[in-house]
Symmetry: D2
Subunit: 338 residues, 4 copies
Amino acid sequence: MGHRVAIAGASGYAGGEVLRLLTGHPELEIAAATAHGHAGAPVNQVHPHLRTLAGVDFTATTVEALSDADLVIMTLPHGQSAELAAQLPAGTKIVDLGADHRLVDAEAWSAYYSGPHAGAWTYGLPELPGQRAKIADATKVAATGCYAVATTLALAPVLAAGIGSPEDVVVVAASGTSGAGRQAKPHLLASEVSGSLTPYKVGAHQHVPEIKQASGATSLSFTPVLAPMPRGILATVTIRPSTAGLTGDDVRDVLSAAYQDEPFVSVLPEGVWPQTGATLGSNSCHLQVAMDADADRIIVTAAVDNLGKGAAGQVVQCANLMLGLPETAGLSANGVAP
Amino acid sequence: MGHRVAIAGASGYAGGEVLRLLTGHPELEIAAATAHGHAGAPVNQVHPHLRTLAGVDFTATTVEALSDADLVIMTLPHGQSAELAAQLPAGTKIVDLGADHRLVDAEAWSAYYSGPHAGAWTYGLPELPGQRAKIADATKVAATGCYAVATTLALAPVLAAGIGSPEDVVVVAASGTSGAGRQAKPHLLASEVSGSLTPYKVGAHQHVPEIKQASGATSLSFTPVLAPMPRGILATVTIRPSTAGLTGDDVRDVLSAAYQDEPFVSVLPEGVWPQTGATLGSNSCHLQVAMDADADRIIVTAAVDNLGKGAAGQVVQCANLMLGLPETAGLSANGVAP
Amino acid sequence: MGHRVAIAGASGYAGGEVLRLLTGHPELEIAAATAHGHAGAPVNQVHPHLRTLAGVDFTATTVEALSDADLVIMTLPHGQSAELAAQLPAGTKIVDLGADHRLVDAEAWSAYYSGPHAGAWTYGLPELPGQRAKIADATKVAATGCYAVATTLALAPVLAAGIGSPEDVVVVAASGTSGAGRQAKPHLLASEVSGSLTPYKVGAHQHVPEIKQASGATSLSFTPVLAPMPRGILATVTIRPSTAGLTGDDVRDVLSAAYQDEPFVSVLPEGVWPQTGATLGSNSCHLQVAMDADADRIIVTAAVDNLGKGAAGQVVQCANLMLGLPETAGLSANGVAP
Amino acid sequence: MGHRVAIAGASGYAGGEVLRLLTGHPELEIAAATAHGHAGAPVNQVHPHLRTLAGVDFTATTVEALSDADLVIMTLPHGQSAELAAQLPAGTKIVDLGADHRLVDAEAWSAYYSGPHAGAWTYGLPELPGQRAKIADATKVAATGCYAVATTLALAPVLAAGIGSPEDVVVVAASGTSGAGRQAKPHLLASEVSGSLTPYKVGAHQHVPEIKQASGATSLSFTPVLAPMPRGILATVTIRPSTAGLTGDDVRDVLSAAYQDEPFVSVLPEGVWPQTGATLGSNSCHLQVAMDADADRIIVTAAVDNLGKGAAGQVVQCANLMLGLPETAGLSANGVAP
């Protein structure tokens, strides 16, 4: 029989996507779907798209509800997962999509988040060198933030190869609205977002320390932009080359080498640029590169589905590793387009 | 081993969705993906979202390319499938998504289409009474048009139950742009469509005779509307009741009884209205009903993904039946939302 | 100098559009912009698009704030305008965009709204026969609801000409999200609305009695649909003909005759269908007609900007008439497209 | 009476917006609207939103059609305006929205465009120091490209004030689809663009030399992105500070001083970020600034309507100056939102 997985905080968008992936997963089954505000309500009242869960209700987010599972996925608001995790038996396998356990540096944590630093767990990005094995061995994994996934996959191999300067990285990344959650806030209304692009948290985004830690960048300017679409992140990552005469092919070779065996990262053929729409519903990251010789900058662009590889897909990928299942089980590299 | 399926016309949106479903299908594999204009080109050049088909090329749409398959799916422009089908060996199993073989009545064909009437094949809507068995026994199936799927699933049980008048049906149905295909036409540009709704072919849509034939309606007003979204059809079907004192619950009971065992048709709980977004990527149809006592009309609304249950999903469902596979294999009732 | 106009409830979308129109109006100036929740806040905090109002603050919605104006425009939540109007001096010229004073029939009011029936004011649709003069003479005008504008302009001339049956009218009308206001409700989030169409209040919409009263229909089925765009209403109005042999040209002639001198209603050339996008920002209504001989129904489609002719534009048009100004002053028949 | 203005290339999106502005302009009237492919066709066939031009037809783009005007506005494909301008009488006042006459440097021209370099005209960005007077005195003005407007207004004062390094500028700018024109190209279809962001011409955009020339930057990395909305540009401009200890307030002060008397450039209050939606239909540019001390970069974000201040609005602004009219005549600083 399949492994039993419980989701804490299953009423949000990321939680809903985890549920969707689990309903199609050949080896995992849903042990519990908990939700604070919707405990007792039918899952379909909140997630009308999940027809196969008709008849299933959310339960309260309690230690009891989660203890019965082989693995717990937490898609809770930042700050809540550390508290909940601390109450579960020590050996419980957990993948936490919140930020609580991502940062190694307590100071960086304090600069961007409130509350005590809960300490870092194994970082859940299997495509980083050596990370796959660590995740497979871990009982506690801190999944990567959605912006950090796109940015790190674009940036890390360039820095690791020594062809780009970790001290001069400029990132502009635009996200669809589901990245902001499903709380009813005025600026997230369709009337406000439709047909409009707007930056936010400019110069002070909480993802910066995470991206630095994961990518090896030491100085990174990050500007997030809210885009008029429900899903998708497009990250434009520009890096000062650290070697002269670097060409776009050189950079593409570095990325291709880094990801040649990865099922979920595609370096696109030359001339083809990532489209976020092509990643919708998938666990894929699409990459492309250009060398701007005139401005002396490497430009790597990355597209992911913020709820896919940026959240739920990555979480299921980590869960697969932690449970000894094929890493790609229940996940698709193919997007739903157009 | 799996059954081998060839797709003729795989470069369009419906063809792309068939390819996507086949890449995730446990029992089917792609024997050939043919395309007239893109023969020789990489599939990923046209469908960048289908990463697992990297390295696969389109082939020309020839009898040879299709003869090697256990089943042929045709997603060709209307008028081309009849000609191609006539050239294939008589016993070849074919599901045709074009209109060529849908209409029994040659006169109705002539009124809306050019060219000779190719004759009718088994109609590919398994949820119609008795149709499932016919499809399973057929070698040639004419899949249902996207508007016809949504309208017929809403309408047919009401007429079959004798509670609505087949002589007085008014339908307004809005579709996302992928229903209009991927030919570059000015009125389909994003600049034109974004933020705009527009009706078209008002009073003379070619789907009317198909819907009449499939639903039992004898008079039906049908107004299609182009909506600013890539996928989805919302059909609002209003019917004059043929019995006095009919309530919304009566109508809901009729629909619930008709679809209680159907994996892909959901009569939603009272008070929940279909959203096209909840069907995206799925093979589901969502239904809800109201009785407008004041205006004396039954109102049934239906949502489908025009490329899912409205096209590729339905085609794969029929193929499953024709090949003796589980009807739901490779298909999901769950949408990708938000 | 110009006339001074006060807007009560200026922080909502309709209020914002009234402010926008007034900033470009050659004869009107803003006496006060009041807002309940935002009193004291800069107008630009709520309406960042209105740059010329930088430095202007909302005031509280008080009798004092409004008494100083030559005319008061009320864009308040339904139920609040009657109470406020009753406190203003009897001779105060008021245009109320709320529903409070639209319905003549107290019973119809009670069926759809709570609270006492405040009595009917002069109905603010100048294009109805004889209505223009009544508005010009009135001190109190109840502006038309947005759905009612589109539906009534399509329907009233057909019924008045005796070519359509008032007993058999079926309307499906889709609206952009601004029609639902700017309160942060979960179903209005961009993530929910993007790429999705959904019906609501099916079989029981509060606009039905208003449309009946304004158009002369005696039985009318009305299904509203929420569409993924910020502005625009497309109404598909189908009517059973009451005379045999009616053609589309006959119906077009009736509409053309009714609106030939109207600056803001356009019967489009044959073959051109209304697009809501073409009305954005304008005070125009675009109409087109078809005769579905097969189904024996007249189909009239109408497009308006729900905040333009459907709300703020219409209000300014009425204000112009009430103040003896050119009816078109400060208004444009031209939309902002694409 | 008003000045007579002819528009060459009036069937495109920018041409349509020029027509719209002229229909509302108190001092200008349309002498001719020419269009190559649509000569003889009704303007409303191409621009159904311009109801007040019902009855007006496009004429062929000939010297005769244009000679009769007080000023000619050219919204032609790049490369065509130089040829046409050379045929008009030497004294004809012309504003050219094409790129033909923007670049002073013939070498930069050759690097990005084909055909001979036509020489530079007076650059049409009145907000640059000293430029307003030059435009007023000019008979020939080369209007600014849409991306260049947003980027230059954000960047030029920072470089002029000596607080940012002209050698280290990184720009990522996203545009709505109307910026790509109305030619029916597959990648501009609504089905492709909806819900998707994609970069293009990365590392080699033709606007780079123009932005350098206008802003004073000497090295500039520019990545354009196609966004799922019809109008709007959001430019994120990051600059290495050239002085230590620079704060966001310092940068805001520089921008505020540069634009304090400008009717169409708004430095937003601290904490308010530009939204492209708020500029729709207006001639405004909205600016905001942050200092990313950690990454040591100034970040200035700018929003414009690419068809407004980015094209037609700017052109009318220049025409007003060249004809001795009030600079703001017929233009609005207020957007149409939501």
